[in-house]
């Protein structure tokens, strides 16, 4: 296209028009690709939720089997001692076995019998023990008790595993026949899985619960909150309101900004080397987890707090100073209360991140298998995200749905915290 051609007005118009189509097409392509990008992000979130909920909603129900348990005096307390010691040592699994054999009298083969006994959870014996320990008067009576079914039975009922060619699958033809018989006699049904919410961890999926992890998370978060909120607010107030501009405060600021971008696992290494090996604090304890998470969330809280302090107009400070307040009084009595909602919002968001954090806690041993519910910050404990990691690693099929269910619980907690932050911001947000 040379200059001569462009000389006439007509030609120029022609050229522009001929290019215009392509330019509009490009415009459209650009806009559509933006839409596609957003749709991709949205659909990925949707896929994630669908796959988690889809694989997890069944965990809220658990198959139970009803057995008529005869609390046989000869088995539980043959010498009639009635002492808790003797009662707790008794062979309760024999009661379950007897009840099962009575239900299916024609099972005689030893191997088949073993299969039969394993359709009820191995936790059944403990349940019976607890019943007797709680009420020794039950001895000698016959009671109908609902036991959680074994995880394989549960998975079969929910359709996650099928009967495979003879002997190779997790569940056998004979077991299926028993299941069908139990279903017909209304001795087998699905109920809400309370154990999932009230139990501690277990190797048996059907009696494993997240309560231990929830309590562990709670203690860890308490420690984190108790340390990081005052520390963060004090740091922010000092840097924003009092600190002179010098090298020292510059170093502090660079440090804070840098810590915000350090990978979380490095904080775990710090916790392992300093808190565990140097100070000798107990492994797997919420106190150490809380300390590590404090260091990790501090930058978030400090940055948010400084932003909300900065948003308080100088006139507030000047007004306070003008009527004779000291600088400390003007900050503590006037600026801080106005900035507090913003600080709380930042803290809640930081806590939500800490609640979902896993990697540093693996480093300090919170990954241990812990059955007991922790009772204090020095007890061995695990937390919700680590529980998810542990269960995701377990081979049993039943743990897959429990992992997903735990994720739903964790996400629900996070959602509540974030909603709280949003509400707080909406309610107290002030524009000057």
């Amino acid at each position: 296209m040379n200059r001569a051609e462009l000389n006439s007005h007509e030609d120029r118009l022609q050229l522009i028009k001929s290019k215009l189509k392509w330019r509009y097409a490009k415009e459209n392509i650009f806009r559509v690709s933006g839409i596609i990008a957003i749709l991709l992000a949205v659909s990925m979130l949707a896929i994630l939720f669908i796959s988690i909920i889809g694989s997890g909603y069944t965990a809220f129900q658990q198959t139970f089997i009803r057995l008529d348990i005869k609390f046989d005096q000869d088995v539980i307390d043959p010498d009639n001692k009635k002492e808790p010691e003797a009662l707790s040592q008794a062979d309760y699994s024999a009661l379950v076995k007897t009840a099962l054999s009575k239900m299916f009298p024609d099972v005689s083969d030893r191997r088949e019998r073993r299969d039969l006994y394993s359709i009820v959870s191995s936790g059944a014996a403990f349940e019976l023990r607890d019943m007797i320990m709680g009420n020794p008067a039950l001895i000698g009576t016959t009671q109908q008790v609902w036991f959680p079914a074994d995880d394989d039975v549960d998975m079969y009922i929910k359709g996650h595993i099928q009967v495979e060619a003879e002997g190779s699958g997790r569940i056998k033809e004979s077991t299926v026949q028993w299941i069908n018989a139990l279903t017909e006699s209304k001795s087998l049904k699905k109920r809400f899985n309370t154990t999932l919410f009230t139990g501690g961890d277990s190797r048996e999926p059907e009696i494993a619960g997240i309560w231990g992890a929830v309590v562990g998370s709670f203690y860890t978060m308490i420690v984190t909150l108790a340390l990081s909120f005052p520390l963060g607010v004090a740091t922010a107030v000092y840097l924003e309101e009092f600190a002179p501009k010098n090298i020292w405060t510059d170093i502090v600021e660079v440090n804070i900004n840098n810590l915000a971008a350090v990978p979380s696992i490095v904080f775990g290494l710090l916790g392992l080397a300093v808190f565990l090996n140097f100070f000798g604090l107990p492994r797997s304890a919420p106190i150490v987890g809380g300390l590590v998470l404090t260091l990790m969330t501090l930058p978030t809280i400090i940055i948010a707090s400084r932003a909300s302090l900065l948003a308080v107009p100088p006139s507030i400070r000047e007004g306070a100073l003008g009527v004779g307040a000291s600088r400390m009084q003007s900050v503590l009595h006037h600026v801080l209360p106005l900035a507090l909602p913003g600080m709380l919002t930042g803290t809640i968001i930081g806590m939500a991140r800490a609640l979902g954090e896993t990697a540093p806690l693996l480093m300090i041993g919170m990954v241990a298998f812990i059955v007991d519910i922790p009772t204090g910050v020095f007890d061995k404990a695990t937390v919700l995200p680590v529980q998810i990691y542990l269960w995701a690693d377990s081979p049993e099929r039943a743990f897959v749905e429990r992992t997903s269910a735990t994720i739903m619980v964790l996400l629900a907690f996070l959602l509540i915290m974030n909603a709280l932050a949003v509400i707080l911001r909406k309610k107290f947000e002030r524009r000057w």
Partner: protein, 460 residues
């Protein structure tokens, strides 16, 4: 809960100190508080600080040292054949003693000496508690009494209290520095111990990573090799895939949100991205292992490709999803910071919206965007749970994203979970990897900050 009750004692005494100090200051001037230098509350605070602070310091020192002091006392009380045990076995014995002391049943050897030691341990714990209680009580009461005596109308209580608060705030702000120093020292210290055993050149330039150390000298394949090349390539591959996913999607959605979207679209899309940002990484890891990896393997099988179930592709894709909101929110900020006048000028001379974005807005926002991408890379490199759950454990030096590769973070986790022999190169290697990781992310962050600062256009 012992420590908590000690804390409560200190708090109760401090509160009591506050009221006593306040009352005293009013009494000193017989109710005419205009004669006081400060408001009565400040005299109260003055007493409370004197009463509480020293005790809190002592309490913190006690809590930090309690376990090790008691343990060393118990160990020194053990019979000599226990004391001469090597470190690891001794720590096992100590563990047994603690378990017996807690009342839990210990399997294995039931040495009478252990039971005696456990009794000793419990006794020491009680003595220690009573001793610290006495110390704290006396410190509190001494501080209370002394400071109360100081109260006089001319005493500048407010100044003193405010100065103390300022000092406390300065101390709080140093926590960040101590954290950085702690990270550097702890990682560096263990790394140096590691490099004493494994030459640093082997570590940096070795092509093989198999951190199995021989338990016996004559074991087959005994010598572990600690070359980080396969880990580096694995990390870079997974991060690269993640960035290939995250950068286009994140950037395009940021552009669309700030330049095209109506308010209604924005009110839907923004929370979605925020939710993506708020999902814990362990959930992404589970998602990668449960859904994405099998899906990719099925697709691969359909196309006749052999996709590993722990392929770098699956981990990278999911990590990319995780980083999308990170890139998009940072880019959104810098794109919004480009002044409207630039856009108006470009549109005024007839450019279409996309031309304006590509030729005017993006170049203006480029430093910020590059900064956000660099921060995203640093995030991807340091990300742990996704790769731990979805990437492999064995170190392959490969360029095929369908194979399993491993990363720095995966190796740190696998080396440190489980056995705790703290002096073996195996555990120390984790700290050396941590050092590499720390340096890499630090460099990326510094470069990102530098790019943003150096090349930022100032529109004023």
């Amino acid at each position: 809960m012992n420590n908590l009750s000690l804390l409560l004692v200190v708090i109760v005494l401090s509160v009591a100190g506050y009221y006593l100090g306040r009352k005293r200051s009013v009494d000193v001037v017989r109710g005419e508080i205009r004669h006081l230098h400060s408001l009565p509350g400040y005299y109260g605070l003055f007493v409370a600080l004197w009463c509480g602070l020293p005790a809190l310091v002592v309490l913190a020192v006690w809590i930090a040292s309690q376990t090790s002091v008691i343990t060393s006392l118990v160990v020194s009380g053990l019979p000599p054949d226990f004391r001469s045990l090597p470190g690891e076995q001794l720590s096992l014995v100590i563990n047994d003693i603690r378990n017996i002391a807690d009342g839990t049943i210990v399997s294995g050897t039931r040495d009478q000496a252990l039971y005696a030691a456990a009794k000793h341990y419990n006794r020491l714990k009680v003595t220690g508690f009573l001793a610290i209680l006495a110390v704290i009580l006396s410190i509190c009461i001494a501080g209370l009494g002394l400071s109360k005596r100081h109260i006089a109308p001319s005493m500048r209580a407010r100044v003193k209290v405010e100065r103390t608060i300022t000092v406390l705030m300065v101390l709080c702000s140093t926590v960040a520095i101590f954290t950085t120093v702690g990270i550097v020292l702890s990682v560096l210290f263990e790394s140096i111990r590691f490099f004493n055993q494994i030459p640093i050149t082997d570590f940096l330039f070795g092509l093989e990573w198999s951190p199995q150390m021989a338990i016996r000298a004559d074991q087959v394949g005994a010598a572990g090799s600690f070359g980080i090349a396969p880990l580096l390539t694995g990390t870079l591959m997974i991060s690269g895939i993640a960035m290939l996913v995250a950068v286009p999607i994140g950037l395009m959605s940021a552009i669309y949100m700030s330049e095209y979207a109506t308010d209604r679209v924005r009110t839907v899309a923004k929370p979605v991205l925020e939710i993506l940002a708020g999902i814990p990484t362990v959930v992404y890891g589970f998602f990668a292992a449960l859904t994405v990896a099998p899906f990719l393997r099925d697709i691969g099988a359909g196309m006749g490709l052999d996709v590993s179930s722990e392929s770098a592709l699956a981990a990278g894709l999911v990590m990319g999803i995780m980083i999308i909101p990170f890139i998009s929110s940072l880019s959104d900020d810098v794109i919004n910071a480009v002044p409207q006048s630039l856009r108006d000028g470009s549109m005024g001379i007839g450019a279409t919206k996309s031309e304006t974005v590509v030729k005017v807005v993006l170049p203006a926002a480029l430093p910020g965007i590059v900064g956000s991408i660099l921060l995203g890379v640093s995030r991807a490199i340091g990300e742990t749970m996704i790769v731990v759950m979805a990437a492999g454990l064995t170190a392959n030096l490969t360029a095929n994203p369908l194979n399993a590769v491993t990363t720095f973070t995966v190796q740190i986790v696998t080396l440190l979970i489980g056995d705790q022999e703290f002096d073996s190169p195996k555990t120390l290697a984790a700290f050396a990897l941590g050092l590499v990781l720390f340096i890499m992310t630090l460099c990326l962050n510094i470069i990102a900050l530098y790019v943003v600062r150096r090349y930022r256009e100032q529109y004023e």
